[in-house]
Symmetry: C2
Subunit: 186 residues, 2 copies
């Protein structure tokens, strides 16, 4: 039986299967399980083993990671005026985040500005995530793990954010940068 009902594996599977126009029997055949299994899973009367769930999802096909990260409903607000972004800055370093809310995203996009001499300090690893960015204007010294480099306009970085990292504006001019991170770091 299942206490995964709150995650609603059954409803998700049913929805995904129907989106792909498959009957329980068709899916079962492709996946190499019985139709009874599909039925019981969709009713949340059993909690499938990971191995059988993977077999089932291969028959659709959808990755198990996508399966578990499916959103229930699409979003509504899609446009954000320049003055509608969420300002997070502290004076020296400012972050302007696309979308005003702090939850319900899988992707965080920031318009960052670094005053001359500003420094993020050293940040340690967060949850599993990746991030990257492109410098638009000015110069920025970026340290990632044991690597360091000064980036100028058009230069970019991309790394696994489990690595410790640090950003410093060592120039005389303000530095402007657009970055993205998934999942959001705050």
């Amino acid at each position: 039986m299942s206490n995964s009902a709150d995650f609603n594996v059954g409803a998700r599977l049913s929805a995904v299967r129907k989106m792909n126009h498959l009957s329980q029997r068709e899916l079962a055949k492709r996946a190499g399980v019985t139709n009874g299994t599909i039925s019981l899973i969709e009713q949340n009367r059993v909690s499938p083993s990971v191995s059988s769930l993977r077999k089932v999802l291969k028959g659709i096909p959808i990755s198990i990671s996508d399966f578990f990260s499916l959103e229930e409903a699409p979003r509504q607000q899609v446009f954000f005026g320049a003055n509608e972004l969420l300002e997070i800055g502290d004076g020296r370093i400012s972050y302007r985040q696309v979308r005003r809310d702090l939850i319900g995203r899988t992707l965080q996009i920031l318009h960052e500005r670094y005053a001359p001499g500003s420094d993020t300090g050293r940040a340690m690893l967060r949850h599993q995530s990746e991030e990257g960015g492109i410098v638009i204007r000015g110069k920025l010294e970026v340290t990632i793990g044991d690597q360091r480099r000064v980036l100028g306009p058009g230069d970019a970085y991309y790394f696994d954010s489990r690595l410790p990292h640090r950003f410093r504006n060592i120039g005389e001019e303000e530095c402007e940068l657009v970055s993205a991170c998934t999942p959001p770091s705050f």
Copy 2:
């Protein structure tokens, strides 16, 4: 038993548990399962049910979706000079992608340029993903679902990319934009 060995649930769990400085017994206690269960799972000698895997992951804690999207190893190249980005453009619209490879990322960051009059046409829904961007320079008409708006410098958008969408530069000036998308759209 398990044919999920190829996904290496065991190794992932073991790694995640150790990253959080938990012993099998400590994790078991937090999760409400026995230490034997943790041991068997980590050895890939059983394929846990989704419900018990969720219980275990709650003890860490990590979401099941993050768990399944964990990367195996950190990346190496983290800096990209302006001339090292992957040029994907076709003359009218150019994409400069952070990182030169087309696979092994969870996040796609693009520096986009739209010539006056250029148009992406209508793109239909892809895999589950979200995307957003910020206009740096120029003006861009963005259509998402049944909504349309002209965005200028500092303006932004963010949407569930299952919605059909379209970008057009209707101005006299080149438009410059940084966007991010997860997972990558190409």
